[in-house]
């Protein structure tokens, strides 16, 4: 048994170099552009290309597709190094959700067209799964692609496609066989996000991020943009979900806000007494610190499976289930500690820690909903992980 992420000298060296690079290049502005989902501004774009030029974005992929050797450990080191700086890996959807599916299932031509560009940091994708009437029941999606000679013609609506307003490509799931059983009639396409016939409308959210409705009106998509085999799309989506559930909730991401909260209670007095001497406050802090460590141990277990080439099934669901609700408890505890001023928003007079916990409380609402609601995940854990009847 071994819980070290980096074990070889090369891994250590890579981590140090990447860390130094990020300390130098990753500005607060770039982090903000990523975390708010407001879109990749020029700074974030330039940073992605710089990261791509190092070759590190391609680590874990074969060289013939623009990769630079390495293993999944290198991929995870990158995710961790960004997360500990409260940032998200550039083009994370392309690199860690869509790219791996293309690598495993895409045609040779598709691999050669997209993987090197992803590895160079040039392109980002937006996930196009959810529809107004297909949320948790994803397999009920209705958006249709109709075979029309050398292309498919796609019409319909997608919902909550968060990056569509700045992504280069839409990773689109649509129904290609309405007669087949629900899961077996869905296919995945890579669609140029700026193709004629696509309309993108913004949706404002409680957390402050922008997401989108995306409308397709007879959009023509060439057949070579079909991912893998026709009507296998749902299985590819499920395959990508395991990794997605693992990489979006790094517990180490909560360490910096936690330390800022610790500094706050050590320097703030209420009723003449330091908050750090208040037993309720101390209890909250201990619980928060403990849960971060517990989530880390759970994450280690899931990653160890991945590293050993085992498929991530209910373990990733379980990790997401715990970590997402943990972040909500974390925000709640912080607001309990800070009190009314914790609710004062960034930019206002009186805001504590730049309103970060007000924002976390708002933004973490979606954590237990997006990427599989906690209820869906619990049923998955029970049926797939524990063998209870469906």
């Amino acid at each position: 048994m071994d819980f070290n992420l980096a074990t070889t000298d090369e891994d250590h060296e890579y981590r140090l170099q990447l860390g130094a690079f990020l300390d130098r290049e990753l500005t607060p502005e770039i982090c903000r552009q990523h975390s708010m989902d407001l879109g990749l501004g020029p700074e974030a774009r330039a940073f992605a290309l710089k990261l791509g030029a190092t070759g590190w974005l391609g680590r874990g992929w074969p060289e013939e597709y623009g990769g630079s050797g390495g293993t999944v450990v290198d991929e995870y080191i990158m995710i961790q190094e960004f997360a500990r700086r409260e940032a998200v890996v550039s083009n994370i959807v392309a690199r860690f959700m869509c790219g791996p599916v293309i690598l495993r299932n895409g045609s040779e031509a598709m691999k050669r067209e997209f993987l090197p560009r992803i590895a160079r940091g040039e392109i980002e994708f937006s996930l196009g799964y959810t529809e107004p009437s297909a949320g948790s029941d994803l397999a009920s999606m209705r958006m249709r692609a109709v075979d029309d000679g050398d292309s498919f013609v796609i019409t319909g609506q997608k919902m909550f496609n968060t990056q569509s307003h700045f992504a280069d490509y839409h990773w689109l799931a649509v129904r290609t066989d309405p007669e087949a059983p629900r899961h077996r009639g869905i296919s995945l396409f890579v669609v140029d996000q700026r193709a004629p016939g696509i309309t993108i409308r913004p949706i404002e959210t409680l957390g402050g991020e922008r997401t989108n409705e995306v409308f397709y009106d007879e959009v023509r998509v060439p057949k070579d943009r079909l991912v893998g085999v026709l009507n296998k799309g749902f299985y590819y989506m499920a395959e990508a979900l395991g990794y997605e559930r693992l990489i979006l909730f790094q517990s180490i991401r909560l360490v910096p806000p936690f330390r800022r909260l610790v500094s706050y209670v050590k320097t703030t007095k209420r009723s003449g007494r330091l908050l750090s001497d208040d037993s309720n406050v101390r209890r909250h802090l201990a619980q928060m610190a403990t849960e971060i460590s517990v989530a880390q141990a759970l994450e280690d277990r899931a990653f160890a499976l991945l590293k050993n080439g085992k498929p991530l099934d209910h373990e990733a669901s379980l990790f997401k289930l715990f970590s997402s609700s943990m972040r909500q408890r974390f925000a709640d505890a912080a607001l309990d500690i800070i009190g009314p001023l914790g609710r004062v928003e960034e930019g206002s007079k009186g805001a504590v820690l730049a309103g970060e916990f007000a924002r976390m409380a708002r933004a973490s609402v979606i954590d237990t909903i997006g990427g599989g609601t906690s209820e869906i995940l619990k049923s998955l854990v029970a049926t797939r992980g524990m063998g209870l009847p469906r």
Partner: protein
């Protein structure tokens, strides 16, 4: 990152599981609650012959010097049968303390006999209320006829009834600082003045109250009175707390197995209850709590073997396991319904076992208080070190 068991861990798991499932059946464990010895001499001797007693005893004292990770594997198996008896007090807590303090004469006297199953130990560190911190130690030691006289009471000593020797912490009255004022003695159970009042706990006669009334011990019984003694005793206690977590994880994993099997087979409203989301979600919550407890315990065990476990790491593990296993019990009972409330069912065995273990070696509240102190003292540097990789 690798979560596979080593060859050695697998061997321990296989041999322990086979033996323990045969030796500690439900009826036997139920009966053992009324046995002050905790378990039969035959069971004890068989465990010694399997080498279990010496799992953490160094080879020079006839033990097998297993790693902490191996100990965890073994204790998980013991938890799976809610094993009664003084194994933990003797082969875990006492051995961790003796090897940490490392008085060679005492070790020579005790450790080979622990490994061979000849003697059983209890550890008495604390006060009348069951507090195990340094400042709570209230037994006093005063110089007397070339030795010491010990006085005071300790309210809760696990496995006191079966102990041949008690490792007892006492205050020397030489320093204002509680941590610098401690000595550790080895007291034979039959020493004059050492009184024992059995306590009937939720899980039977597995603890006692020790009353020391002018107990005379010689200087040969003094294990250590070094001013830095607490810096050895405390980590040994915290390691033992992590070991206690392994027992809880084992017991909780059996609850999960029992409840899951029942949910698949029990029919209500014309279908298996495991098909209902309300039941499925209870089960998923149980598995989440169990996996968290299990991997936290394994990870901290690994950190202990690496020599990197901090007090905070160990306290977090015990705090979490105490919280999580209690929830697992609740959910398990909810899934089992009325049948799990019957004393002849196995559920009450695990309820009684876990409700004792959650408080043993400090409960969630005590450990949370320690975590808070440590979190508030941490510097930027120690935080960075902790999250280095």
């Amino acid at each position: 990152m690798d979560i596979e068991f080593s060859e050695q861990q697998r061997m321990i798991q296989d041999s322990a599981r086979g033996f323990l499932e045969d030796a500690f059946t439900g009826p036997l464990v139920r009966e053992a609650r009324q046995n002050p010895q905790g378990c039969s001499q035959q069971n004890w001797q068989e465990m010694a012959e399997l080498g279990l007693m010496g799992i953490r005893v160094p080879e020079v004292y006839d033990g097998i010097a297993g790693s902490f990770a191996e100990l965890i594997v073994l204790l998980e198996e013991m938890g799976r049968v809610a094993m009664p008896g003084p194994f933990f007090s003797t082969a875990v807590y006492a051995v961790e303390i003796l090897t940490a303090v490392n008085n060679q004469k005492i070790n020579q006297l005790l450790l080979p006999r622990i490994a061979s199953g000849q003697i059983k130990l209890a550890v008495a560190i604390g006060d009348d209320d069951g507090d195990i911190s340094a400042s709570a130690i209230s037994i006093t030691a005063s110089p007397d006829k070339g030795g010491y006289s010990l006085d005071g009471t300790i309210g809760f000593v696990p496995n006191a009834q079966s102990a041949d020797y008690v490792l007892c912490a006492a205050r020397m009255g030489r320093s204002e600082c509680p941590q610098n004022d401690i000595a550790l003695f080895c007291i034979a159970a039959n020493t004059t003045g050492l009184g024992l009042e059995p306590l009937n706990t939720m899980n039977g006669l597995c603890a006692g109250r020790l009353v020391l009334d002018d107990v005379h011990v010689t200087s040969a019984d003094l294990i250590s009175d070094s001013r830095d003694l607490w810096s050895f005793l405390e980590p040994a206690s915290f390691r033992s707390a992590v070991a206690k977590c392994a027992e809880m994880v084992g017991a909780a994993s059996r609850i999960l197995e029992i409840a899951t099997a029942y949910a698949k087979e029990r029919q209500q409203f014309g279908q298996a209850i495991g098909r209902f989301q309300a039941i499925q979600h209870h089960c998923a919550d149980m598995l989440t709590d169990l996996d968290c407890a299990r991997w936290m315990t394994f990870k901290t065990g690994w950190l202990i073997d690496e020599g990197r476990a901090t007090r905070q790491d160990m306290a977090m593990t015990k705090a979490w396991c105490s919280q999580a296993c209690r929830r697992i019990l609740r959910n398990g009972h909810q899934v089992m319904g009325g049948i799990g409330y019957c004393e002849e069912h196995d559920m009450p065995l695990f309820f009684r076992y876990i409700r004792m273990a959650e408080a043993a070696m400090g409960g969630a509240d005590e450990h949370m208080a320690i975590i808070a102190s440590d979190v508030l003292c941490e510097t930027e540097q120690t935080v960075n070190q902790r999250y280095k990789e």
